[in-house]
Amino acid sequence: MAEFEPKIVAFVCNWCTYAGADLTGTSRIKYATNVRIVRFPCTGRIDYMLLLKAFDEGADGIIVSGCHPNDCHYTSGNFHARRRWMTFRSMCDFMGIDTRRIKFSWVSAAEGAKWADIVNTTVASIREIGPYDEYKKVAKKPVKEENHG
């Protein structure tokens, strides 16, 4: 059996982490191909139902990342995101969703290397934890045939 390639979805804000990931590119820092970035105006916009949706659709791990505290482009969006994350995490924990699969982090527009590092460590840890079969088992929709990494 080929090595397990986790599917990671990253929910990032436009102003810090998206720009930080751009910097990773311009700095030509290499990282694992498993991550797919979805751009949002602000982490404050990220409705955590989206995270559940991503698991629904077959994600093995999730990264949520935005501006550092006090650096939010919109003043306080990241604080709302952080607070929401605290409750969401305990709710996930209660429902039996493995919170290790969600990585919450701050990456600024200047932290290209940090972005690569976060992706790599997340991919490595999810690889270790394994595919998220438990979720797929309880998810209502039938699990699709795996045909890409």
Partner: protein, 667 residues
């Protein structure tokens, strides 16, 4: 049926070196709704853009996906190209194949697969995109400047000189602020009034500036470019148009023992008064709280003597409403009074004064005409002690921050004392000397080395009176915390600079954020130092944090430049990526239930309550409404909304969910 055009860029070899672009184009071309899928060496080049434009026209595309570099780089380029070909620019999106894929991965199947996934995601998003139009907001090209200190004066003059109208309001009877009270200014020792008063006069005479003194902001409504402000012009009891400013009334007023605010209580004024001789406007006002006529019902001596019959006892406060496009807050700061300090005698001893009081003693226009004399008996102090950091950087006093200007003005005070009192002894107790600024440290060195001021590093624990002397007890921490006791004739406290009383109330009125110490908060500590979170409201001077004169002036000019930039347009064009509350057919009107959680989440106060009325005019439902002038499009409200009634254009639920679903599901 969607007709999406997908354009995959090689970016020279930047993308094609690791991603098989032809394969991406081929795979994506087979997706539902994709009408054309091509790859090209340079999409951003002229032939590349022509390729896109041609496809839009020939294939009748409903959406465009350009898979190339970061949208932060070329999104405007491609959106413009689409608009030129007649497609709504917001129907064009970019997939980031360069920064997020080709540059960060090695050449492999997985890299090409990731590129395909990224393109597919954006294709699905564009399918759900909606045509949007840029928001246009008209601009009223009049600025309101609140506060007539040096910051407000500078901001007013700069805006007025750029050709725009300015309304300057000042709560006191004269403009000038704290700077008009100062004796000389560091680090050049030039006379404060000499450099300030010409500017004050310029403000009064400028054709573009309407000056309202003795006036305060009553209320504010509206948003950037379109504020409506109400100004309360407090009754001066003097008709400014008739008054010639001769000053006869002030000499005849029987109520002569009122402590002068301008002289920090070290001199007296009358009930009808001009705060200082160089005041602008130089016309008196009656202090209603202390005037004998207003308090006791008879007197009217001023009215009898006024040669032009300008005294109007029946004058009432007037409220005027004006439309303005931008607001500059320059309300300044204040300093703690000596009664704030129990260890320095609660302000009971007249010879313990604040730095600002010392300024008045050292000022040529002050109560002692510039001679340093003790307030108690008028004697020249032979020994004087300056206490830097009185209250500042003291957690116990609730003022943990540095007041910034004290180190410099204390050095100046000690220097002025040495210049004016030959043979006098001066001591400065300090925590650290913070003299960052052009020629600042040299200035402090000069005070120590040339003028012989004794600097003692340590704090003063107590000041008390003994045999007509003030005993200052402190420690010298550079000599191993040796106790120091100085018998002084006078003590000057560099009291902490704090926010104005009422700053919090004003901030709430204007929806401007403020810090725990009630200083107004800038929008970004580094990159938006003069903006506030409320679009169209700017900050200048010490209302934001303790500031010295050069900084206040620089900040005021910065704020003025922002205002002039705003006023250079007839209409503000804004990205339509803002939140909207859905509307539905009656009787539902909107799925919004009116919980207004969004209102509490919004950092810009952009959410308003809207009442939906029936034909009889009765309110049948109250729902949220987004003010497009104020919304910045962060989307925090969207994640908060319990009924998913509010959505953000450009990142709608439909768009982002379809992205997530497309991302993980191959065709």
């Amino acid at each position: 049926m969607a007709k999406i055009g997908v354009f995959i860029c090689h970016c020279g070899e930047n993308i094609s070196a690791t991603v098989d672009c032809a394969k991406v184009a081929e795979v994506v071309g087979k997706y539902d709704g994709v009408a054309i899928s091509v790859d090209y060496k340079y999409m951003c080049s002229d032939p590349g853009q022509t390729l896109i434009k041609k496809a839009i026209v020939e294939k009748g595309l409903t959406g465009v996906v350009v898979a190339s570099c970061s949208p932060r780089m070329h999104e405007p380029t491609f959106r413009k190209a689409c608009a030129e070909a007649g497609l709504n620019p917001y129907m064009c999106e970019m997939a980031n194949l360069r920064e997020h894929c080709s540059w960060v991965h090695e050449k492999s199947e997985a890299t090409t697969q990731k590129a395909i996934d990224l393109v597919r995601t954006i294709v699905e998003k564009v399918k759900h995109n909606q045509s949007l139009n840029a928001i246009k907001v008209p601009v009223t090209k009049t600025a309101l400047v609140i506060g007539g200190g040096i910051a407000g004066i500078q901001a007013s003059l700069d805006i007025a000189n750029s050709g725009h109208k300015v309304i300057l309001i000042e709560k006191d009877p004269s403009i000038g602020g704290h700077m008009s009270q100062l004796s000389e200014t560091f680090p050049t020792l030039d006379c404060s009034q000499c450099i300030l008063t010409p500017r004050m006069v310029e403000v009064a005479q400028h054709p573009n500036i309407a000056l309202y003194t003795y006036a305060e902001l009553e209320s504010i409504d509206g948003f950037i470019g379109n504020f409506k402000v109400k100004i309360r012009k407090k009754a001066k009891s003097v008709d400014e148009k008739i008054c010639t400013g001769c000053g006869l009334c002030t000499t005849k007023c029987p109520n002569k023992k009122i402590p002068s605010e301008f002289n920090e209580g070290l001199g007296n004024r009358t009930a009808i008064y001009v705060p200082f001789p160089q005041a602008v406007p130089n016309k008196p006002v009656i202090d209603k709280t202390l005037c004998t006529y207003y308090t006791k019902g008879k007197c009217k001596i001023c009215e009898k003597f006024c040669p032009t019959h300008a005294i109007k006892f029946d004058q009432e406060d007037e409220i005027i409403e004006v439309p303005v496009g931008a607001i500059v807050l320059a309300t300044g700061f204040t300093v703690k009074k000596t009664n704030f300090f129990p260890e320095y005698g609660y302000g009971k001893h007249p010879d313990i004064v604040t730095g600002l009081q010392f300024e008045r003693l050292a000022s040529a226009s002050g109560p002692t005409l510039g001679e340093i004399r003790r307030p108690s008996d008028g004697k020249i102090p032979e020994t004087i002690v300056f206490v830097a950091c009185a209250g500042s950087r003291d957690e116990a006093k609730g003022i943990p921050y540095c007041s910034k200007i004290c180190c410099m003005y204390t050095a100046k005070h000690a220097m002025l004392y040495q210049h004016k009192v030959h043979g006098g002894k001066s001591y400065v107790f300090y925590m650290d000397i913070r003299a960052g600024g052009k020629n600042y440290d040299e200035f402090v060195r000069r005070a120590i080395e040339e003028d012989g001021v004794n600097y003692i590093r340590g704090r003063v624990s107590r000041v008390y009176e003994k045999n007509g002397k003030l005993i200052v007890k402190g420690a010298d921490t550079l000599l191993g915390a040796t106790p120091v006791e100085i018998e002084a004739d006078m003590v000057v406290l560099a009291t902490a600079g704090v926010a104005n009383e009422g700053a919090e109330e004003l901030a709430q009125k204007l929806h401007v954020s403020y810090d725990p110490y009630h200083f107004f908060a800038e929008a970004h500590p580094k990159l938006k130092p003069v903006e506030t979170n409320t679009a169209g409201i700017f900050l200048a001077g010490a209302c934001q944090a303790p500031r010295d004169i050069p900084e206040s002036v620089a900040m005021a000019s910065g704020a003025a430049a922002k205002v002039a930039g705003l006023f250079s347009q007839d209409e503000l064009t804004r990205e339509p990526l803002i939140a909207v509350v859905n509307r539905q057919a009656p009787p539902v009107f909107s799925s919004c239930v009116g919980c207004f959680l969004c209102m509490s989440a919004c950092p810009y106060h952009a959410i308003e309550k809207e009442e939906i009325k029936n034909r009889q005019g009765e309110v049948i439902k109250t729902v949220a409404k987004v003010n497009p002038g104020l919304c910045q499009g962060c989307g925090t409200c969207v994640a908060f909304c319990r009924t998913k009634s509010i959505d953000i254009q450009g990142y709608t639920h439909e768009e982002v969910y379809s992205e997530v679903m497309a991302l993980l599901n191959d065709y």
